[in-house]
């Protein structure tokens, strides 16, 4: 209802200037440059990298600060977990703070599995390595036979500088070294270790989600990520990784029943998470076992509540694994939603048939390319095997796997 402004009983803090959300046009306020971020070319939004450069491109240059990325997990939670680890590893390299919440695995285990960054041209401060450096050159002298001119140069730059590059590459076969990882500040939320509190009587959220939301708010306020907090010299980004929300381990029966009793618990939590993120300098990546959720309507509203949404569908274990058409790829990726922040139209990817493959040094997302079948006996693969989900009428990209079925 409308009311004259003077009689609305709101505390004076609400009357603070308009820039009390993290969405600010670059021209209006002086944005302090935060390492690891860059403004978007489309609408001036502050972006961070997800750690996967091709995913950044798919999302329109990166993940906007203050938004949520929803990843619908593949069946065995292998690739969605990989993307979550990329996201956290990128946070470590860019010196952002991390917040990891999980109900299934200990957040420390997730943090120990982060992939090692490929740091050929990025300077990382390694305090433990410095005393060793002075002792190493005599041993290394023998090693350089061809590039002997370089043998007197120091091996690793010890200059303290955060990476100015946007998006890095990681080597999946190695884990991140503990020194680099411990340089980043991590907050953990492991549900079994968290004391259960009684939820307020009128709340539709579960205790676990309420506790998580409350913990998030505490961290944001305490560490100064709130946009309304006084601007200090150094602002940083908080990267939030929430693993496997909605699964039964969080106490939610969304994935267990056709008609869940707590149908709105997760959506309420996501709404609260979004409200938190919009008013702070943080980014969240949420993974969700959507293949267990039977109710498509709830899945639709969950997707709607998250700004970015992608779904991973891996070929592992399905009959497509042996299908020669898919031999180059590990799975399909569907872009369910791309946000339109501060602008009317959203930029959906032009192609709906995207596939991903996880290589050792890169997680690449490409358009699914079916080369023409030039063999003598053209085997006609039936449409049922090729086509994934049936086309859903939508302009907002609840897309099909839409392969180009070359029907000769």
């Amino acid at each position: 209802m409308a009311a004259p402004m003077s009689s609305v009983g709101k505390p004076s803090a609400e009357r603070s200037p308009f820039n009390n959300t993290s969405f600010q046009k670059k021209t209006r306020s002086k944005l302090i440059s935060i390492p690891g971020t860059r403004p978007s070319v489309q609408n001036g939004q502050l972006l961070v990298s997800t750690g996967v450069t091709s995913l950044d491109y798919l999302l329109g240059g990166g993940l906007a600060v203050g938004t949520v990325l929803l990843i619908e997990e593949d069946r065995y939670d292998s690739y969605s977990r990989m993307i979550l680890k990329y996201f956290l590893a990128e946070g470590v390299v860019c010196r952002h703070e991390l917040y990891v919440a999980a109900a299934q695995d200990n957040p420390d285990d997730i943090l120990q599995e982060l992939p090692a960054p490929i740091l050929d041209d990025v300077a990382m401060h390694k305090p433990a390595e410095q005393p060793r450096l002075s002792r190493e050159p005599p041993d290394a002298l023998d090693a350089m036979k061809i590039a002997w001119r370089y043998q007197n140069l120091p091996k690793v730059q010890t200059a303290l500088a955060s990476s100015s590059r946007f998006g890095h590459y990681y080597d999946v076969s190695k884990t991140m070294e503990p020194e680099i990882r411990q340089a980043a500040k991590c907050h953990r939320f492991y549900l079994p270790e968290h004391p259960t509190q009684s939820s307020p009587p009128h709340s539709t959220m579960l205790e676990s989600y309420s506790a998580l939301l409350k913990s998030l708010q505490e961290v944001i306020n305490r560490e100064g990520f709130d946009v309304a907090a006084p601007m200090s010299n150094s602002r940083n980004i908080l990267r939030i990784g929430l693993h496997s929300l909605g699964s039964a381990l969080w106490g939610d029966d969304l994935c267990c029943h056709d008609n869940p009793k707590n149908g709105r618990a997760l959506t309420t939590f996501l709404y609260g998470l979004r409200a938190l993120l919009r008013s702070s300098l943080s980014v969240a990546v949420v993974t969700l076992p959507s293949h267990l959720i039977q109710d498509r309507a709830i899945m639709g509203s969950i997707t709607r509540l998250c700004d970015n949404a992608i779904a991973l569908e891996s070929f592992k274990g399905s009959e497509r694994e042996t299908n020669p058409l898919y031999k180059d790829y590990h799975g399909l990726i569907h872009v369910r939603q791309v946000p339109h922040l501060n602008c009317l139209a959203s930029k959906l990817p032009d192609h709906k048939d995207l596939a991903f493959k996880l290589k050792r040094k890169q997680f690449s997302i490409e358009r699914l390319h079916l080369p023409p079948d030039l063999s003598d006996t053209v085997s006609r693969v039936s449409r049922g095997e090729l086509a994934g989900a049936t086309t859903v009428a939508s302009a907002c990209g609840s897309g099909s796997s839409g392969n180009k079925h070359l029907d000769f």
Partner: protein
């Protein structure tokens, strides 16, 4: 304010029907571009507007309205626009603090209404269907009948139409209840044939007027495309990409 939509609805900033309850709904699509149309239309008509933003922040609407030629910050300063940040209020409900002064979310519902136009966006995540129906009835009674204002409400329905909703709280029930109460519906959907880059979807406009002897319903179907500075509407099949 989209000029084509104005001609479809027979509205101009100087003349539009008072006391109307407009319902915007979408199914697997995004009808928020229509909210911007109505917001800029009412502001240009120099009405007092109360906007309850539950989905996005003020800056989002301000940035888009700037491109449509209306300045929300100026309107707010002049007192023409009251913007209620629903997200922040809802956070205080979802995370109850120890010293709650009592200004809970949705408290503004009880404030006396002086404004003429109200725009609402609803996210069905945390509010039950019954509450939304009650609230919309309350809005309509106060704003439309007593004050001769207009209410524009955006509701998202998520289920597929053919789904059999066993429980009472289905989105279908909410949609039917709201459609019954309103006088103008704009229903946004994706194209039935699938995703298209040049045509973002279709809008079904439905007028429900009460003539002397009964209800008179008129429906029209348009296709639309949203671009940076507005949206264009055209009859099905006459998109500029096709012709």
């Amino acid at each position: 304010m989209y000029t084509e939509l104005n001609s479809i609805l027979n509205t101009t900033p100087d003349s539009f029907t008072q006391g109307e309850f407009v319902l915007l709904s979408d199914r697997q699509s995004d009808a928020s571009f229509l909210i911007h149309h109505f917001l800029s239309l009412y502001l240009r008509a120099r009405c007092k507007v109360c906007f309850v933003g539950l989905v996005q922040s003020f800056n989002h609407y301000s940035a888009i309205s700037q491109r449509l030629g209306v300045s929300l910050t100026q309107a707010k300063e002049k007192g023409q626009l009251v913007f209620l940040e629903g997200q922040k209020e809802s956070l205080s409900v979802l995370i109850p603090q120890e010293n709650d002064t009592g200004s809970q979310a949705m408290d503004f519902l009880r404030d006396p209404s002086v404004g003429l136009k109200s725009l609402y966006e609803f996210v069905r995540s945390a509010v039950s269907s019954n509450a939304v129906l009650d609230f919309s009835h309350y809005c309509r009674a106060i704003v439309c009948s007593q004050l001769q204002g207009n209410v524009v409400m955006l509701v998202r329905c998520d289920g597929e139409g053919e789904e059999d909703e066993g429980d009472d709280e289905g989105s279908e029930r909410l949609m039917k209840g709201l459609t019954h109460q309103c006088s103008l519906t704009l229903h946004v959907q994706g194209l039935p044939t699938g995703y298209c880059r040049d045509i973002h979807g279709q809008v079904e406009v439905c007028w429900r007027r009460r003539r002397g002897d009964g209800q008179y319903t008129q429906k029209k179907l348009f296709q639309y495309k949203v671009h940076d500075k507005g949206a264009s509407f055209f009859a099905p099949g006459t998109s500029s990409a096709v012709l």
